[in-house]
């Protein structure tokens, strides 16, 4: 079979695979360069650093006050995950089970904050938050980060909820369960994989969300990615290796959660779950 293919087609296949390999190699090398540099003593004019050390991690930890930054990051991310779950899951339930007038409009309303990039709505949003005295502190950062994540949870959860047999809920209702007990005893246990997947993706996205945090954070409410941005932007002030050490810490905090998330979702879902709704 393979030999029947014309030479042109085989050449074309080779070109395509070469492109894939070239891309993947460059991505890996880009990330590896950060890692190698963060452990290097001095790296100049050679393929690898002159020697290896871990002292940049200690330096970065102190220079960038990473202890405080990490606490802020986890507080922000924790609050965003919790609140987007609390707001998003019930809304998704209503949208999955009821067919009321204006439902399509509501779905469009939830699609917009996901399709419009944060830079475009971030500045007006930050202006409103600052006017409400919510800018420049943790609550502002959390509120701003919730804008894309609440719709994300809603849109991801709708298909999960639609998969559950409505007769189970009807049975719970017959036995006298109200909506609150229905949620606690029936829906949440059955939806755990879906909720976990949605919230893990929210977690990963919030750690990496630069723009909205950047626009709303004050000096005490910067997350790790914003601190990293400032450090990279002011390169020359700090040693490059300690910036890279921070970058590696940032990578680890994101990738650990990504690996956990990938146990529950297929990689293509990370970008497509929601976009399918858009078609």
């Amino acid at each position: 079979m393979q030999d029947d293919k014309p030479a042109g087609e085989r050449l074309w296949a080779t070109v395509v695979w070469a492109l894939v390999i070239f891309f993947v190699v460059n991505v890996i090398a880009t990330i590896a360069a950060v890692g190698v540099d963060s452990f290097g003593t001095r790296w100049f004019n050679s393929w690898l650093p002159a020697g290896f050390t871990t002292r940049w991690y200690k330096a970065a930890w102190e220079e960038f006050q990473l202890h405080d930054v990490l606490i802020v990051t986890f507080e922000v991310v924790g609050a965003v995950v919790l609140l987007s779950g609390l707001l998003g899951v019930p809304a998704a339930y209503a949208l999955a089970r009821r067919n009321f007038p204006g439902k399509q409009l509501m779905i469009l309303l939830f699609l917009l904050p996901m399709m419009i990039p944060p830079i475009t709505f971030g500045i007006p949003l930050a202006t409103v938050l600052y006017q409400a005295h919510l800018g420049g502190n943790m609550s502002g950062v959390i509120l701003a980060n919730l804008v894309p994540t609440v719709p994300f949870v809603v849109l991801v959860m709708i298909p999960f909820i639609e998969q559950i047999d409505p007769r189970i809920e009807a049975a719970a209702r017959v036995f006298g369960a109200g909506t609150g007990r229905l949620f606690v005893h029936v829906l949440v246990p059955m939806l755990t994989p879906g909720i976990l997947a949605a919230l893990l993706l929210v977690l990963v996205r919030t750690i990496a969300m630069f723009e909205l945090t950047f626009f709303t954070a004050g000096p005490d409410s910067q997350t790790l990615v914003v601190t990293l941005y400032y450090a990279v932007g002011a390169a020359g002030v700090r040693s490059n290796q300690s910036i890279d050490a921070m970058a590696v810490i940032y990578m680890l905090t994101t990738l650990v959660w990504l690996l956990i998330a990938l146990r529950f979702v297929d990689p293509t879902q990370i970008v497509t779950r929601v976009k399918k709704e858009a078609v």
Binding site: A33, F121, T127, M209, T268, V271
Partner: protein
Amino acid sequence: MSEAALSKPTERPPLRVRLALRDIDGVTLLVVPAVVFVLLLFIYPFAYGLVLSFLPKKGGWLANYAKFFSDPFLYDTIWSTFRLAIPATLINVLVSVPIALRVRHMRHRRVLTTLLVVPITLGTVLIAQGLLIYLGPQGWFNRVLAVVGIGHVRLVHNYTGVMLSLIMSGFPFTFLLTLSYLTGIDPSLEQAAATLGAKARARFVHILLPLLAQGLAINMCLSFVQTFSVFPSAVLLGAPAGETRVISIAAYQAAYEQYDYSMASAVAMIMGFCQLGVVILILAGRNFLYRGSAAGGKG
């Protein structure tokens, strides 16, 4: 009173029942908090920004827009953004199609898709720092070029650096999206065409492309909107005062360096309208090209 109460239900059921008939009841109300949240923190700020952009610090209601379109330092940002966004979008979307066509039959597809999720997850700031080292004058990329004999190429702090970062963080996204559209097409359609003797090229042009057009248009819109709002990599990897002074930098400077929120809102609105305009053009172009055959595919 009692007569009215008795006769009324026959004509008109109580409000509660009428609402329930239209599927509005206690469960429906669960959607309210999320909707109120999006209205308050997304729709309201957008509307507020639009109004604020017409209330400049000084001058008439159009003063911000007049200033933007008369100052080359400001209106040139539109051009420098398009100059990055259009090639990056075209490269990302067009290259993703042949690769997705190959990869969909791959056995260990999940390994590749997992690898590609990593740059999306890490975000643009980390990619920028990585590329600064990797593509820098002493970086591995330039070293390989030197070994091959091409010599030193300047790849960062200019247009190329930003373009490469847009491809590195944007391509995985467009690729995964194209792949999911492609795998959604019923394979029996292609097999039928192959049975009837259609070659790979004919199968692609006459079967897959029309079915994919809808998805590619959406993909192109999303990709364009993302690249048009490039910010951290334009600052870190580009020349933010020169050729990669994109429109988001102008908006940022108005808001956080001149504290002119009215002007910043105007720039943000101009950015939004540029994005909207291109999205409408793409969607209109799709209808023009593939009227009637875009249906199906996903089923």
